[in-house]
């Protein structure tokens, strides 16, 4: 059964990508995962309808920075699909200067929310989105804020701040040195 799916996925994708850029991995229960090597955002315009033709279901979309701390430019987006039990991940590389990507909501209705979410969290422009509003973050806040983390606990002087630990240490019977700088 799984073999058939693997075959049809490879068949459906063959017009746009070479056989060797689809990599297959398997977990301990022999579930198959297809990894389609990174392409340009425009490849979505052909791959998305092909996957839709295979009755694929969009699982989710993950945007991320190539360098986690944003020290270097570069954003990528991984689109995860389910094709009758097989997970296929299509990755696209975005332009450094103008990160933009076409919407796939035309073929996968449930892409709408996912695209709105990564647009606001990573500052990526969506081309032809049917409903390009903010999803979670208020429209008055800047886009691309996921990396600029201000934990609520820091604001509220909660868990793990230096000030807090000074107070914890201050109330305890312990040597003077222990009340100094946070280590």
């Amino acid at each position: 059964m799984k073999k058939n799916i693997i075959h049809s996925v490879t068949q459906a994708l063959s017009p746009f990508c070479d056989q060797d850029i689809v990599r297959w991995t398997y977990d301990v229960n022999d579930n198959a995962f297809a990894w389609i090597a990174p392409g340009s955002p425009d490849t979505l315009r052909t791959i998305a309808p092909a996957l839709a033709g295979l009755q694929a279901r969009l699982l989710t979309i993950t945007a991320y920075r190539r360098d986690k701390f944003g020290r270097a430019d570069g954003r990528e987006i991984a689109y995860h699909f389910d094709i009758d039990g097989v997970v296929a991940t299509v990755t696209v590389l975005l332009d450094d200067e103008f990160p933009r990507v076409p919407s796939i909501a035309h073929w996968f209705k449930n892409a709408g929310w996912n695209e709105r979410e990564f647009a606001e969290l990573y500052g990526i422009e969506i081309i032809d989105h049917p409903d390009p509003r903010r999803l979670f973050v208020d429209k008055d806040l800047d886009a691309d804020i996921l990396d600029r983390l201000i934990p609520l606990s820091t604001l509220m002087n909660g868990a793990s701040t230096t000030t807090l630990w000074e107070k914890v240490f201050a109330g305890k019977q312990m040597p003077e040195w222990a009340k100094g700088e946070l280590n």
Partner: protein, 364 residues
């Protein structure tokens, strides 16, 4: 007097008596009939994915357990599977049984909670209290076996933490014996009670076609004839060795979703019993601490509300480069627009509850 019906906007939420969590619905109403629904989310967006990227792989087990309380075991279990897939770790067989037991115990408690809330929304509060009281059997089981009523703390990378010895196995079996007749009885009430039927049958309809189009998951999809259960479709842990039936229905209304959840709870009890019978001796976790190589992996499990997906990307450091998770409710929200169109204003809370919404999951 003009007889032309006028439309007006009815705001529901973000705080609503029926829903424990904040979600804002902008509802266009014509008389008493709903014409269109618009959702505004984000009231409890906490940026947990960014928190996960700032914590090491071990801390994230605890963090992911706190995404949601009702499916709190599904999150760390799926996260651990993603880490294990990437580092090629084999979880000992006993641990895989233990994970299934923990998942199914949570499923029973979660389904009973949702079905109980439905009785409350119907206005049948004595039934609501009875269902919550029956759910207490499972809460006590969790507390007695794992040490906490919600966050079991069962999963770690490479295995489990709490073993089930002869004493706790006997205790758990005792709880299941208490639960079984009660579950049967509750199913009977939900199936036959005239009040429940009058308020829930034929309400919040979602056709199979619309279910596929919106990509809905879990009991919502299965009640609309989309028979998709990760436990059967892309099995994990020891599900391939277990005998269970994927529940489905074709009616796709509020009533069928509730009954489906009750049938699934009964099925979960059977699964736990099988696991207790079949569980082999052996270690419950791999020894030593794992290192995660650079790369990417996906893991999926069937949470009480449907499919949970974790995507993990590692750059070889001790914190994830990116950890993304998609929860079942995230997929089900927009289908509400279909379910609610043409419904009565009074049915809005019932329909919303029938997707078993989890907002802390959705917004993370």
């Amino acid at each position: 007097m003009s007889t032309t019906p006028s439309t007006y906007t009815l705001p529901v939420g973000p705080m609503h008596v029926a829903l424990e969590e904040p979600m804002y619905f902008n509802i266009q109403v014509e008389g008493e009939t709903v014409r269109s629904v618009d959702l505004a989310a984000g009231h409890v967006h906490r940026g947990m994915e960014a928190l996960a990227m700032n914590r090491n792989y071990f801390q994230n087990v605890t963090l992911t357990e706190r995404v949601c309380s009702l499916c709190s075991n599904s999150h760390p279990a799926t996260y651990c599977m993603a880490v294990e897939n990437l580092s090629g770790l084999f979880v000992p067989e006993r641990a895989r049984y233990l994970r299934v037991i923990a998942d199914e115990v949570k499923r029973v408690a979660s389904h009973l909670f949702n079905v109980g809330i439905m009785a409350h929304l119907v206005g049948f509060d004595s039934l609501f209290m009875h269902v919550m009281e029956v759910r207490e059997i499972m809460q006590d089981a969790k507390e007695g076996v794992y040490g906490n009523r919600m966050n079991l703390g069962q999963c770690v990378i490479g295995g489990c933490r709490t073993d089930i010895d002869a004493d706790t196995a006997a205790f758990l079996r005792g709880q299941l014996e208490q639960l079984k007749p009660q579950l049967d009885e509750i199913h009977g009430v939900y199936e036959r009670d005239p009040l429940i039927r009058a308020r829930t049958q034929g309400i919040g309809l979602l056709s199979q076609e619309e279910a596929i189009r919106h990509g809905v998951v879990g009991p919502v999809a299965r009640a609309s004839g989309v028979v998709y259960d990760i436990r059967a479709k892309a099995p994990y842990a020891v599900y391939p060795d277990l005998d269970f039936e994927v529940q489905s229905d074709t009616r796709g209304d509020v009533h069928s979703r509730a009954l489906l959840r009750l049938r699934e709870a009964a099925e979960s009890v059977r699964i736990i019993e099988q696991c207790l019978d079949m569980i082999p001796d052996g270690p419950i976790a791999v020894s030593g601490m794992v290192t995660v190589p650079p790369g990417e992996s996906v893991a999926r499990t069937e949470a009480p509300r449907g499919e949970v997906v974790y995507y993990l990307r590692s750059d070889g450091s001790d914190t994830p480069q990116r950890l993304k998770w998609r929860v079942p409710t995230y997929m089900n929200w927009e289908a509400l627009q279909v379910m609610m169109s043409g419904c009565q204003v009074a049915d809005i809370p019932l329909i919303v509850n029938s997707i078993d919404p989890c907002i802390s999951c959705t917004e993370r």
